[in-house]
């Protein structure tokens, strides 16, 4: 068994015991989508706007739920024990894997709700969208995990998280909005190759930078 898998299992079982992150995320998603629906009212919105708003929901729900992984360790005072029993790389790997799973389940939920509630949200090229969705989720998880580690050491100030994450996630969100537009137009995979490649590069760079820098954050 890999050590990072144990960290992931620990997080998963402690999450299943309290279900705090999952519950608050589901409620947050419901609230955000209903606010959007109320503000639209009886108006009809364009396809592109619906596609852009989808990523707004994803961004803000990620901001509300993903900082828990590291902040909860500091709150419960278990960070020191974790430092003793596992190497930084495996701690980060476990946390990252947990966040990837969380982001995926959250965004699949958003996607299903969104497709039911928004008539304008029609994806002509589903394969392209799902590729972007997959790579985008990994990117969001990677960037927000390392930022979560930073703010947990900064005294876990709640408002700090979206402020620090937004500039890092901005290129990713811009690419994702562009790819959503392209998949709404029914553009083929080969035509959107550059965007997919940029997205893939973002993921790879985020992964390597976070693994390299996590040691410095974790060791006091």
């Amino acid at each position: 068994m890999q050590p990072f898998y144990h960290i992931f299992k620990k997080d998963l079982s402690s999450e299943l015991r309290t279900r705090y992150a999952v519950n608050s995320l589901v409620m947050f998603i419901l609230i955000t989508i209903s606010v959007i629906l109320f503000s639209i009212g009886t108006e009809t919105i364009s396809d592109y706007l619906a596609g852009g708003l989808f990523w707004v929901v994803v961004f803000f729900s990620a901001m509300s739920g993903l900082s828990r992984t590291f902040v909860s360790e500091e709150e419960r005072g278990t960070a020191m024990t974790l430092k003793l029993i596992a190497s930084p790389a495996s701690v980060f790997g476990g946390k990252l894997f947990f966040n990837i799973v969380l982001v995926f389940s959250m965004n699949v939920f958003v996607l299903v709700l969104y497709s039911i509630l928004f008539d304008a949200f029609v994806l002509k090229n589903l394969v392209l969208f799902l590729t972007a969705f997959l790579l985008g989720n990994i990117g969001i998880a990677a960037a927000s995990t390392i930022i979560a580690a930073i703010i947990s050491k900064a005294g876990s100030k709640g408002t700090l998280y979206p402020v620090l994450s937004f500039p890092i996630l901005l290129p990713l969100i811009l690419i994702l909005i562009e790819l959503t537009k392209l998949s709404m137009d029914g553009v083929g995979l080969d035509e959107a190759f550059v965007e997919i490649a940029v997205l893939f590069c973002y993921d790879v760079i985020m992964f390597s930078v976070s693994f390299l820098l996590f040691d410095f954050i974790w060791k006091d």
Binding site: A154, F166, P171, L174, V198, I205, V209, S210, I217
Partner: protein, 232 residues
């Protein structure tokens, strides 16, 4: 001391030359600039706007370099250097954004239009802002230095993505953009030699000014830290 006087004369010359030298259609005298189609008199902003934008990027780069240096050697002086570079970068970032916005009101008709370069400088401003928020949230010196270094490195690696993705999302209005066929690329062949010379002199002058400000700034910061340690 001598180089400071030389810098003063250089900056004075650039300011006077950049503003006062006339733009004519067929430049013949040494003090006349050529007319660039689509830009006209607006072209003169290149002597002041481009150097500020260049220093914004340079300061961000230096802040990251000194962040890496701090993580390697754990010397708090490097953190002071990185912090001062970021402070100056923020000042020049605001200057570049404001001069650019004023110029774009006259050239494009609106102060802000999410041109790729405007978006990039906006993202850079957000990163600088986030860096200062992060620094102000942490009390302890070493922790603040480590976390802000890590954050500036993470932010630094995301910036190149704007160069790749933004031109595909937005059409470039900015002179020098890839799909701009009226005014750009200004730097390469639309400027004649004396305009180019003043542009380069301006870049050099502003860069020296930045390094001077940076040196004064970080020495002040280091002294401040020392004083605080002595009296606490």
């Amino acid at each position: 001391m001598l180089w400071k006087i030389a810098l003063f004369i250089l900056i004075c010359f650039i300011s006077i030359a950049g503003i006062a030298f006339p733009i004519v259609e067929n430049p013949s005298a040494w003090y006349e600039f050529p007319l660039i189609t689509g830009l006209g008199e607006n072209a003169k902003i290149i002597f002041f706007h481009v150097p500020t934008a260049w220093i914004t990027v340079l300061a961000f780069f230096m802040s990251t370099i000194y962040g890496i240096k701090y993580l390697r050697k754990k010397d708090l002086d490097d953190d002071a250097k990185a912090y001062t570079a970021a402070q100056l970068g923020m000042i020049f970032c605001i200057l570049a954004t404001v001069t650019g916005a004023v110029w774009s009101k006259f050239a494009w008709g609106s102060f802000w239009s999410w041109d790729p370069r405007q978006t990039s400088i906006f993202a850079l401003m957000l990163i600088y802002g986030a860096l200062f928020v992060l620094r102000s949230a942490i009390e302890q010196d070493e922790k603040r230095a480590v976390l802000s270094s890590v954050y500036s490195i993470i932010a630094f690696v995301t910036v190149p993505f704007f160069i790749f993705i933004m031109p595909r999302i937005m059409k470039g209005l900015h002179p020098g953009s890839a799909d701009d066929n009226t005014a750009g690329p200004v730097v390469n062949f639309k400027m004649d030699s004396n305009m180019y010379l003043i542009f380069v002199l301006s870049l050099i002058g502003f860069t020296i000014l930045y390094f001077w400000m940076w040196r004064v700034g970080y020495r002040l910061q280091i002294l401040k830290d020392k004083l605080e340690k002595q009296f606490s």
